[in-house]
Symmetry: C2
Subunit: 217 residues, 2 copies
C-alpha cells in the first residue's frame, strides 16, 4: 500500500494498526468500494449535515446511482452508523497503542491528548466531527450500540486520569476533567488549522496539558 501522507510524529504506526483492523474486518479498506463510500459520506455529513445529505449526493460522490447504494448498505442510517463505528474502532486502537508506548501516567495523558487532537484534526477528523455533531441522527438503538464502543474508549482516559488523581498530581475530579477535555478538544475542529502555521499540534498539546495544572510529583 502506498502511504499518501506524511508519517505522524506519534509514537505509534497508525498505518500498521489500520492494516491489522482491516485484516480483522473491523474497519473497511479505504481503497475498497465500501471504504471509499464511507470516507465520502464522512466528508458530506460533516460538510452539510446528515439530514441535508441525500442518498443521491452520496451516490454521486462515488460515481454510482443512488439505488446502488442499497446494495452495500440497507439504509442511509446504516452508513452513518458505519462511519461512527469504524472511526471509534480505529481511534481506540491508536490510543491504546499510544498509551502502551508511554511509561509514566503523565506521559500517558500527554499521549492521549496528542492522539485525540490528531484524531480530531487529522485524517479521521471529518468522521470525528460527524461523531460529535450528528449523534442525534442515529436511532436510539444505534445510539446505544455506538455508546458501548465509546465506553471502551472513555475508559482509557478515566484510567489514566484516575491514576493521576491517586498520585496526587491531579486535583480536580477525573470525570469532570475528562468531560471538560472532551468539549475543549472536540471544539478545536471548529477553529484549529495547523496547516496555516502558528500553533503546532505539539504546541497545542502543551497548552492543554499545562492548562490542567498538574502539580509536580
Amino acid at each position: 500500500m502506498v502511504v499518501l501522507f506524511k508519517p505522524l510524529d506519534l509514537p505509534v504506526n497508525q498505518d500498521q494498526i489500520l492494516q491489522t483492523l482491516i485484516a480483522d474486518n473491523l474497519v473497511s479498506d479505504p481503497e475498497s468500494a465500501r471504504g471509499r463510500l464511507l470516507r465520502e459520506a464522512a466528508r458530506l455529513f460533516r460538510e452539510k449535515g446528515y439530514e441535508r445529505t441525500t442518498v443521491r449526493d452520496l451516490a454521486a460522490a462515488v460515481g454510482i446511482q443512488s439505488g446502488s447504494l442499497f446494495h452495500h448498505f440497507r439504509t442511509k442510517e446504516e452508513i452513518l452508523k458505519a462511519v461512527m463505528v469504524e472511526t471509534i474502532r480505529l481511534n481506540t486502537a491508536v490510543m491504546q497503542a499510544a498509551m502502551e508506548a508511554a511509561d509514566s501516567n503523565r506521559d500517558k495523558l500527554r499521549a492521549l491528548v496528542s492522539a485525540e487532537l490528531e484524531s480530531i484534526n487529522g485524517q479521521t477528523g471529518e468522521a470525528m466531527a460527524v461523531l460529535v455533531f450528528e449523534w442525534r441522527s442515529l436511532s436510539e438503538v444505534s445510539q446505544a450500540e455506538v455508546l458501548k464502543l465509546r465506553d471502551i474508549y472513555e475508559a482509557l482516559w478515566l484510567d489514566v486520569l484516575g491514576a493521576l488523581k491517586e498520585e496526587g498530581a491531579l486535583v480536580a475530579d477525573p470525570f469532570v476533567v475528562r468531560r471538560m477535555l472532551t468539549g475543549a478538544l472536540s471544539w478545536t475542529v471548529t477553529w484549529y488549522r495547523p496547516e496555516r502555521g502558528g500553533l503546532t499540534r505539539e504546541g497545542l498539546t502543551d497548552q492543554v496539558v499545562a492548562m490542567l495544572g498538574l502539580s509536580q510529583p
Copy 2:
C-alpha cells in the same frame, strides 16, 4: 409579570434585563404567541435537531395548524434564526451586566464563566444548544448575520482575557483559552445536571477557573 423560577445567584437581575430587551423589541415576550413558539422551537430543535423537526411538529407544539406558522415567520429557517439571534442578544446583555458588576479582571472572568454556564444550563440552555449544534442548518447569509452578533459577545471575553494576559496572570494565549473554554463550557450541556445534586454551578465555575491556572497577581 410573574417570576416563574427561582432568582439566580448571579450579581444581575436577569428578568429586568429581559424586560428592557422586550421593550426595545430586541427579544420576544415569552408570553406572546411568537415568544411561545420560539421557546417550543428551541426545545424541539434541541431534542430532535432542526431538520428532523417539521413545521407540523412546531405548529402542534403551540396548538395551531402548520400553515398558520407562516403568518408569523416567512420560512422555517427564519424560526431557527430568530431562536439564535434572540438568545445571543439576551446572553450578551446578561454578560455585559455581570461584568460591569465585577471589579477586578479576575472577578470579571469568574462572572463570565458563571454566566455562560448559566446560559448553557439554565433557562436559555435549549436555545444555546441549538446555537452550537444547528449552526450549519442556517443559510450562509444567515450564518454571517448571526456571526456578527456573536462577535460582540466574544469581544467581551477577549477583552477580559487580554487584560489578564497583560497583568501577567494568564500565561496562555487569550484566543486559545477562549476557544478551549467555549468547547469545554458548551459541552457541559451534554452531561452537567445540577438538579441531580453533586456539583453546583458555583462549584463547577471554581473548577473551571482553577483549571486555567491563573498565577497570583
